[in-house]
Amino acid sequence: MKRGFRLTVNGEPYEVLAAPHATLLEVLREDLGLTGTKEGCDEGTCGACTVLVDRDPWLACLTLVGEVQGKEVRTVEGLAGGRALHPLQESFLEHGAVQCGFCTPGMLMTAAALLAERPHPSEEEVREALEGNFCRCTGYVKIVDAVVAAGGRQNEPV
């Protein structure tokens, strides 16, 4: 039996009808059409479905839609501010940190949470933060470089 849920995703309010056991991942991808958030393992192992919930990285595949009522959800579609890319997105492109791109949204959202907490993380801190995000292309070095550089970029005077 479906019931109504109210969500805020990327600043937009939504009302969806979903089963109480529906995950945030299912609702994002299937009901809201936000397919930027990826389903990799669907069991909390790979990190591809990482989204921000009130600025913290959450695994959308392990989150029931009811858990995020009244909270702010941010997905990769909402990472850029309008037309300007987020520094992480710029940095991923510049460093060749995108290969097949499937893990990229999860990597970006996990890294965004890290930078919000620690604007200039060390390489070690970046590696630690991203330990739950798998890249099956194994392009980790460039991804870590990109996040470290994005932190440096935020250091520059605007």
């Binding site: 299937e30 990769v76 890319l85 997105q89 492109l93 970006l108």
Partner: protein
């Protein structure tokens, strides 16, 4: 100035922007009217004869559109090096008569949604007659090892000579060789 426009130059990844913004589409990101969910029933055992598969309960579940098994396929094996003596063509779209590894595809269902497809898998009844199995390469190479595929006379289907050991400094190659096996004939 280089005579090449591309070689030796860093070129922008043309699908990069889509991939960092979430706009880029992978196959699973597409949605079309009338699309169904597919689920695969896999073998829980490493080696067994399939005595019977009963799909009738699954097929009768409302929302289920199709249930297929190996019997519905062409039963044609496929794989690497087809047509050669080393042919590895021993895979089936869905298992035919027996399963050779945990996770081998035994049946497939299509249903209106994921939950229905999952329930349908639970309703498929498979009777297995378990067979001896091996869990490692050395075990598989023993003379009396159970055969996984009937097409070959032994589990060892190909052989090669692999150089091992250490090189002496200044020498031009490995100093010892080990012969690991040769292809048995049927």
């Amino acid at each position: 100035m280089s005579r090449f426009r591309v070689v030796g130059k860093s070129v922008p990844k043309i699908d990069g922007l889509g991939l960092v913004t979430g706009e880029g589409k992978f196959a699973a990101d597409y949605s079309l009217p009338g699309m169904l969910w597919g689920k695969i029933l896999r073998s829980p055992v490493p080696h067994a004869r399939i005595v019977s598969i009963n799909t009738s309960k699954a097929a009768q579940l409302p929302g289920v559109r199709a249930v297929v098994t190996g019997q519905d396929t062409l039963k044609r094996p496929y794989g690497q090096f087809e047509g050669t003596a080393w042919s590895g063509a021993d895979m089936y779209a869905l298992a035919v008569d027996k399963v050779r590894f945990v996770g081998e595809e035994v049946a497939a269902v299509a249903a209106v949604d994921e939950l229905t497809a999952e329930k349908a898998l639970d309703l498929i009844e498979v009777e297995y007659e378990e067979l001896p199995f091996v869990l490692g390469i050395e075990e598989a190479m023993r003379d009396a090892a159970p055969l996984v595929t009937r097409r070959l006379a032994a589990t060892l289907c190909t052989g090669s000579t692999t150089p091992t050991g250490t090189s002496t400094p200044g020498s031009h190659g490995p100093t010892t060789f080990v012969r690991t096996g040769s292809p048995p004939s049927r």
